[in-house]
Symmetry: D2
Subunit: 223 residues, 4 copies
Amino acid sequence: MSYGRAFDLMREAAGRDWEAYVAHRFVEGLGDGKLPRAAFLHYLRQDYVFLVHFSRAWALAVVKAGDLDEMRQCAATVHALLAEEMSLHVALCAEAGIPETELLATEERAENAAYTRFVMDAGFSGDFLALLAALAPCVLGYGEIGARLMVERSSEDYADWIAAYGGEDYQALCRSVGLLLDTALERRYGPGYANLPVWRDLCRTFAQATRLEVGFWQMGLAP
Amino acid sequence: MSYGRAFDLMREAAGRDWEAYVAHRFVEGLGDGKLPRAAFLHYLRQDYVFLVHFSRAWALAVVKAGDLDEMRQCAATVHALLAEEMSLHVALCAEAGIPETELLATEERAENAAYTRFVMDAGFSGDFLALLAALAPCVLGYGEIGARLMVERSSEDYADWIAAYGGEDYQALCRSVGLLLDTALERRYGPGYANLPVWRDLCRTFAQATRLEVGFWQMGLAP
Amino acid sequence: MSYGRAFDLMREAAGRDWEAYVAHRFVEGLGDGKLPRAAFLHYLRQDYVFLVHFSRAWALAVVKAGDLDEMRQCAATVHALLAEEMSLHVALCAEAGIPETELLATEERAENAAYTRFVMDAGFSGDFLALLAALAPCVLGYGEIGARLMVERSSEDYADWIAAYGGEDYQALCRSVGLLLDTALERRYGPGYANLPVWRDLCRTFAQATRLEVGFWQMGLAP
Amino acid sequence: MSYGRAFDLMREAAGRDWEAYVAHRFVEGLGDGKLPRAAFLHYLRQDYVFLVHFSRAWALAVVKAGDLDEMRQCAATVHALLAEEMSLHVALCAEAGIPETELLATEERAENAAYTRFVMDAGFSGDFLALLAALAPCVLGYGEIGARLMVERSSEDYADWIAAYGGEDYQALCRSVGLLLDTALERRYGPGYANLPVWRDLCRTFAQATRLEVGFWQMGLAP
């Protein structure tokens, strides 16, 4: 599975940090059902707060886009997040016994703030590509995890979660975000972008975001 | 016609600047048909560039919103602008003989940049309310102009434009933006907001944005 | 010791979070000399990265200031940080055996990024006051800690650090930042600012920043 | 006179827009003394408002810098602007009979807002280089104008203004800003930066900023 050339290169550059993220104990626990329910519910609560800031980050991508195509793609993601994804998340939490009022009152954990605020600052202080590089580990990493667990899972306990990210809808989103990244890079830097110094900065942003995602899983294990 | 309490107060505070905007010669020319066609086409071309930055400004409002309700309302506006409004604009221009390739190549006039960049900076440098105060003259002023010309127009030449802004869809949008402004003010400053020093700053932002809108009409008259 | 009315109120509102910050085991270890040297050196390295982003945050305050006075005060802080504080920090580290090349290569820890990026986003997404509310726990908390340890310390091991923050220069800075906060609040919201809903948002920002400072100390203990 | 390679290339790409700016009638009037005094005083008032936003723009450059060197250079400019330049400007205006209270009350003209807000948005929405590209026409164009008028002027009427920008201090600043631009480009894009698509975007930003500077001079002629 590949979501595009740039993602492949960034993932490779992130090396062990990437492995620590996509094969984290939390992730394995989703696949083999050994993740304690309390940890999962705790994660869902934090993920609600995460989605609010994640939506803001994609809205910032609209602001920083270089042309109408980029604007439209990012705006469609904002729309999907706010009009659909969050409602689904609320429904999923309600099923799991967490009412929306409780979600709204969730106190944001430091590991959660660390990732989303890093993304926001990467976007505000950098440009469209810096923002995408910070967003990519989340969007595409979840896609990679979902696709792998669809095949490898040995338990049905978290099948819904796995299907949400491993299913075709989300996989299609990942391919389009991967393409957005490839296209945005070539549009600004030409086909040789990976030889430019700025590419190292983007890979560094991607790797730091990846490490902050590791912290997010880690937090998930400690309600 | 009123789009809410805050708008009424800001408009009143803007005084003659507001009159100079909503009763500008360009506007009167739309109503009585005396606006030269070349001026209108020139205005349409600039308005296309305007809409791009206007969409960015509403996306910035999503970023700066204080809660999910505010985020959702602003995101719906971004969606409406990028997914519908701009397509309508492109269609309207095509009918008028301006193909989209020409729109994309439009060189942005200084009076155009002045307004949209003022809005963007009001948002980036200030908060959600400063951004709304800078956006309000455009959104709500067009509503006021459209509603008045629906009644007062003496020519059918620009009936489509007038119907677009005077029609029920746009008027409903104006009422919801007016309400968003009222609600956002009370949510942050309570019912006595108009007595706070910050209110004067917001009125100043609104008035400066109004003057920049006057400049936009003025530019429209000089292709 | 008081650095102003707003700080007193915010600190009170932060309650136990504030205590957890200013009386953290790391802090007590600076006072009684029980903080392991390795932990201190690790903290110094992270603090170097911190100062870079902290300087950026004060530069953002210049961008978001409401008048020339506010701009000048924030610019003076940027100047002090970049032209003096960082050089002092580099000298202090060199004395402790950490050359500047090593400082530059420090990998930023998540707990470090969490605080500084939270501050940056508070500033970018909010206004000048939101930014000050996020900066205050660091600036003024270090002042409070320094002043207390000047009196209470039972060891000379970290006397230089304590003198840096407990000494008159830094205490004067704290008073002027406290005054800047008080003045900025009254300038925008009048003397009754603490009764406005927006005040609760500012206190929430202050409290969250305080909790992220607790995380920073916690990280200091775990090289 | 050259302030660096990138500036030379951008100026060339801006072509006639650059000529329209540096050889504007306002500029020629400063050299031959035919600029009416009222126009000059009007310009000075607007320039005061300009300097406030110009200082904010350089503070934003500190926020968006890629390393400590870039941060320090931009912070030194902020410091110079707020601590020195603005005081000189106030003194110059006082001599010309405009007290500072009057400067503070100046109503910002649209042509003034157009340039500064374009710069701010270029910075907020783009990256460090986009911000520099938008700032360059002002900083370096004034240097070019000053240097030329030092040699070519046929009147002493505006000798102080000419000396301020044609003098060695300002010329040295121009050389260092030109070097900052060259270095920042190479640091991110390598020596072949002028062959990348992003270079065209930067040149477009530079050219649009140049046109907005033309508008500023034009405004100067019409008090």
